[in-house]
Amino acid sequence: MNVFNIIAEIEKADPEFTERISPRRAAIKNITSFGSKVAVAALPFAFATIFKKAYGTTSTASVTDVLNFALKLEYLESYFYTRGVATSGLIPGTDMNVFTQIQADENEHVAFLKSVLGAAAIPQPTFDLTAKGTFADVLTNYNTFLAVANTFEDTGVRAYKGQAANLQGNEVVLTAALSIHAVEARHASAVRQVRAAHGVNIMPWITGAASVYNDTGVPAVNANYGAGATGYPAENNVTQGGVNLTTLASAYGSTTPYNVACEAFDEPLDANTVVTLVTPFFIN
């Protein structure tokens, strides 16, 4: 990757690019010194920081904060699946390929985020997979393991979705975050399919009713599917973009069934609420 060629390309597309960087010379100099100290993989992040400054994206969290927030969740998932796969007798052989695939993806997410963050990456925390005893048999009872996996994946989807606006307009970092988000959703679907195969009444997507927002059958994780801060409704929300989805036509007539309206849109969750939810899984 040639940094200066990229800047030249940006200037061609947007002649005012360098004018927006303030102070111009210092910014360019920073790229060079930064780039010489960290892995090439960190360069997209360096650009992200500059773009954010240059274009004045109004967000409350910095890109570094968002990526470290994501890294913290990925550390947890990676550790959870690594322990699960390594625990003899926990995962039946017929399901093992699902979890080795998910484990591999989560490990890659950790590696990817660390490479992008470079020296700014938070270190791996230590974990308590029982969440202070709430899931005491998580590594000995497969059904508990599946329930926790189900919740981790659905909450991961909510967490990434909640950060999209903080990365807005940033082609490199937003596209990467959306792409990890999609993989978390694939995992959520897969884990839900495994639970369904073991007799749990659950679909690959989150369903609900006017009075039901947690469809996992696990009351201990109600908050993971509930509302977060203002503007982050529970998973059974049916109003999108100011439109009450149930008033739209469907294959069944002039209205849409409530459960369909829940299922067709996943809900984001704010970072503070997510941190509160996962805190019991962390020792430090």
Binding site: N97, V98, Q101, I102, A104, D105, E106, N107, E108, H109, A111, F112, V157, Y160, K161, A164, A165, Q168, G169, N170, E171, L174, T175, A176, L178, S179, I180, H181, A182, V183, E184, A185, R186, H187, A188, S189, A190, R192, Q193, M203, P204, W205, Q240, G241, V243, L245, L248, A249, S250, A251, T256, P257, V260, A261, E263, A264, F265, D266, E267, P268
Partner: protein, 230 residues
Amino acid sequence: MKTETNENKGNGMIARRSFLRYAGIGAASVGLLATAACHHDHTVVINQGVDIGTGDIGILNYAYALEQLEAAFYTQVISSPYSGISVSEKAYLTAIRDHEILHRNFFKAALGANAITGLTVDFSAINFNSRDSVLGAAKTFEDLGVMAYDGAGYLIQNPDYLTLAGKIVSVEARHAALIRDLLVPGSFAGSDVVASNGLNNALSIAQVLSMANAYLKTKVSAVNYNYVVA
């Protein structure tokens, strides 16, 4: 040969005129039926087409176009199920149909007068009586939808629209994982859609539309995003 030369010249002129019309009209749907008569009994008909336009309206129309395609596909799947369809598969595909119809109708309602026209589909390549053909097409549409939303997110300027796109793309990814597992158990995040760094592939608007147009009689272009229907 003189005739070929004239035909080529005529097509080139039509193409340029079409481009100018697309560019000038922007988000409005373009009822483009261009007919060129050569000097013998031979006419060149260019399919009716639409252009998604530009800005957030353009991206929402892009999503609306893909959701129209998916909704039409699953509607046909459920109205004429493949032979041997199981109860659970029919339930899954019915639910997905319902989601896609709602996505389509949501975008139509949200776009209002800015919405592109209803698209006419071309599913002649799909054998609706064959499980492999139907699920194979479903896999194509779902994976394409995920890659489309992931690849176009950075173009969205209004944060509310970006969040809305995020709310939909994860549901498409849930669908994609299910369909893939129905075809090949354990392939929910196969290496053909998830790169070795654990990231889902993302595609540009031009890449997505060139694939989607194979299933559309009404061709969708995106002149503001470097894609004109060939």
